[in-house]
């Protein structure tokens, strides 16, 4: 396990840039949607950037992730191409899925992203399976499996975590507990305090961390990754965080208070990390400003290039149903 990202200049810069890129990308998506220029539905992770970024920093490029419906952050943090992501959301032929998948189905083989998922908990058994493949082939690769607090109440969670535990699979289960599964709060959806308590039921370690603290996420996931890589099996890491925006476009926020949202907004994971690294003298004010500008420019480039790309082509809708032998 290396030192925390917040203490190393290059890593801190990279982490900050990643978080700002996620934020700007999703703000752009939100805006395109509000202006009727984007179609379908989307789930924003604004407020949760430290979780995706800290976790992916603890991974190697050849490690894999599985993601969720709220997956833009995971995708970007694992290194995806912004323009291809934006093109997918804008229903372009140059998008990651040629316009067939949209926001909930982006995958990127080049960066080890096995895919977002429209099905809550759908990715959890898949993560175990990918880890099984690595284990069977004697590779020292690890899978990081992102899912929400709501997903932890699906049967798939139970079955997958148990399989991973008994086979000592190299997987890290990362529960992004943002307090709600759509409108249902964790206080109502489960009778325990922390989701990480469930780890005991599978005989694996479980840890709960402040998911808005990039270093804390990084440290917890790094420990879990080291354990998985060493062949000692899975860990359940719970990142406590919060989504600022509604669950999806149709959310009227009737199930939570304005005060609660404001309180969590004041705990912005990005501003917090900025303050931390500036105070520690790891990055200067100017360097931080340069990162912000860079993130904004990257996002603008992605939108511009994606907009200029050709629309997805409806002429060959059957060609991808089956893979060619």
């Amino acid at each position: 396990m290396s030192t925390s990202p917040g203490t190393d200049h290059d890593t801190a810069r990279h982490a900050l840039l990643t978080m700002w890129t996620i934020r700007r990308f999703e703000e752009a998506v939100d805006d395109l949607f509000a202006r009727g220029l984007m179609h379908g539905t989307m789930h924003l992770s604004i407020g949760q950037e430290a979780s995706a970024t800290g976790a992916c920093l603890a991974l190697r490029t050849d490690d894999a992730i599985t993601s969720t419906h709220r997956g833009h952050g995971h995708c970007i943090a694992k290194g995806a191409d912004l323009t291809r992501m934006m093109a997918e959301l804008l229903a372009k032929e140059t998008g990651y899925c040629r316009g067939r998948g949209g926001s909930m189905h982006i995958a990127d083989t080049a960066t080890g992203n096995l895919g977002a998922n429209g099905i809550v908990a759908g990715g959890i058994p898949i993560a175990a399976g990918a880890a099984l493949a690595y284990q069977m082939r004697g590779e020292d690769r690890v899978v990081a499996c992102f899912f929400g607090d709501g997903a932890a109440n699906e049967g798939a969670f139970h079955e997958a975590v148990n399989l991973a535990a008994i086979w000592k699979l190299p997987v890290v289960f990362i529960c992004e507990n943002n307090k709600y599964g759509m409108s249902f709060s964790t206080e109502k959806s489960m009778a325990i305090e922390n989701i990480s308590e469930r780890a005991a039921g599978y005989g694996i370690p479980g840890v709960t961390v402040d998911g808005n603290d990039l270093d804390a996420v990084y440290d917890a996931v790094s420990t879990a990754v080291a354990r998985a890589r060493a062949g000692d099996g899975p860990t359940l890491v719970e990142n406590l965080t919060y989504r600022w925006k509604g669950h999806s476009k149709s959310d009227k926020n009737l199930y939570r208070t304005k005060e609660e949202i404001a309180d969590w907004r004041s705990r912005d994971p990005i501003l917090r990390f900025e303050a931390q690294i500036k105070e520690a003298g790891v990055l200067t004010d100017e360097e931080v400003q340069a990162v912000r500008t860079q993130a904004m420019e990257q996002m603008r480039d992605a939108v511009r290039q994606a907009n200029a790309a050709p629309d997805a082509d409806p002429s060959d809708l059957l060609d991808a149903v089956f893979a060619r032998a």
Binding site: H39, G40, T41, E88, A91, C97, G99, R100, G101, G102, S103, M104, H105, N117, G118, I119, V120, A121, G122, G150, A151, N153, E154, G155, A156, G181, M182, S183, F184, K188, S189, M190, S250, D251, K252, L254, Y255, D311, A312, P314, L317, L318, A320, V321
Partner: protein
């Protein structure tokens, strides 16, 4: 059945909500369970204010646990309640298939009729919202293929209410599949709790030349197509089976025998779909001798539903596709 009471125009989703509210007022055993049906009012706004009217005990928000929810409904039904499950998107019935297919559908039979499972499972189906492959399927034929399940696809606001009331009364598990694009459509609906029986097709339009049989949102698309075809002198019937199981095929045989032409329209992929059953029923009966042209099916592509709007649109029959298919069928004969 029909309009015994006073009709007023309300939306399809209001009609569903009204049916649930009236059933709950009339019978303490009726309750609802599902994800985000409480304060949120349901992902599609169907449960709306029911939570405020009946409280969280009877409008019961659940964790994201479809298998558990449906299983709990099966158990409650066995123990004398009348649960209505809302599955947020019909795609997520997949999580609950054991309880639907292996349990609910078979218990009455396996126990020699000793117990039954009077539950209703409601779920939105279909494409057209840009929600892509895992949120847009039309799986009605799967359910219709399982003996022991009744399968209902209301196509109008009045039917959304009337068929649901019958489903709640029914002593069997009933799957009610509501098309997402219909929720905001409206039509005249009786104020009273007027039942529409399960197993009775509706003749939506009677024409001379060709019979369209359509389900779900394809019913209104076929009626729109009928207006366009009428301008070209093609006069079509539109029949809406309303319930896939039990299936009332007599009106289909009668009408096809009269027009000599059958165009069977569904949103679901054609391969092994519901209209294949209709086609077989025509082929296996004397109706086949009355055909002036081979039966034609118009279905969704045998592919998942894509995200991009122009791709999604191209994946399932649209009004112009129905017009074209009907015109071609007329020319063939």
């Amino acid at each position: 059945m029909t309009t015994a009471g006073t009709d007023r125009v309300i939306t399809y989703s209001e009609a569903v909500r009204e049916a649930i509210g009236q059933a709950m007022e009339a019978d303490d055993r009726v309750f609802m369970l599902g994800e985000d049906i409480g304060v949120y009012g349901g992902a599609f706004g169907v449960s709306g204010d029911l939570y405020h009217r009946f409280g969280g005990d009877r409008i019961r928000d659940t964790p994201i646990s479809e298998l558990g929810i449906v299983g709990a409904a099966v158990g409650a039904a066995l123990a004398g309640m009348r649960p209505i499950v809302e599955i947020q998107f019909s795609d997520f019935t997949n999580q609950a298939m054991d309880q639907i297919v292996n349990q609910a559908a078979k218990i009455h039979y396996m126990l020699g009729g000793a117990m039954s499972v009077p539950m209703v499972l409601r779920a939105p189906l279909g494409s057209g919202t840009g929600a892509a492959a895992q949120h847009s399927q039309s799986l009605e034929a799967w359910f219709a293929h399982v003996p022991g399940l009744k399968v209902v696809m209301p196509a109008t606001a009045a039917d959304a209410k009337g068929l649901l009331l019958s489903a709640i009364d029914d002593p069997n598990p009933v799957i009610v599949l509501e098309h997402k694009l219909l929720y905001r459509t409206s039509g005249p609906v009786p104020e009273e709790a007027v039942r529409v029986p399960l197993g009775k097709s509706a003749i939506r339009r009677r024409g001379e030349h060709l019979t369209v049989v359509a389900t779900g949102v394809m019913v209104s698309r076929s009626l729109e197509a009928a207006e366009i075809l009428a301008q070209d002198g093609i006069d079509i019937s539109v029949i809406d089976p309303r319930t896939l199981t039990p299936l009332d095929d007599a009106p289909i045989h009668e009408d096809v025998s009269r027009t000599g032409r059958a165009l069977l329209v569904q949103e679901a992929p054609g391969h092994v779909g519901f209209t294949a059953e209709l086609s077989a029923r025509i082929a296996e009966s004397p109706t086949i001798y009355r055909l002036l042209a081979p039966v034609r099916r118009l279905s969704g592509l045998d592919a998942p539903i894509p995200y991009a709007p122009q791709l999604e649109r191209a994946s399932v029959p649209q009004v112009e596709d129905i017009v074209e298919a009907a015109t071609k069928l007329m020319k063939e004969s």
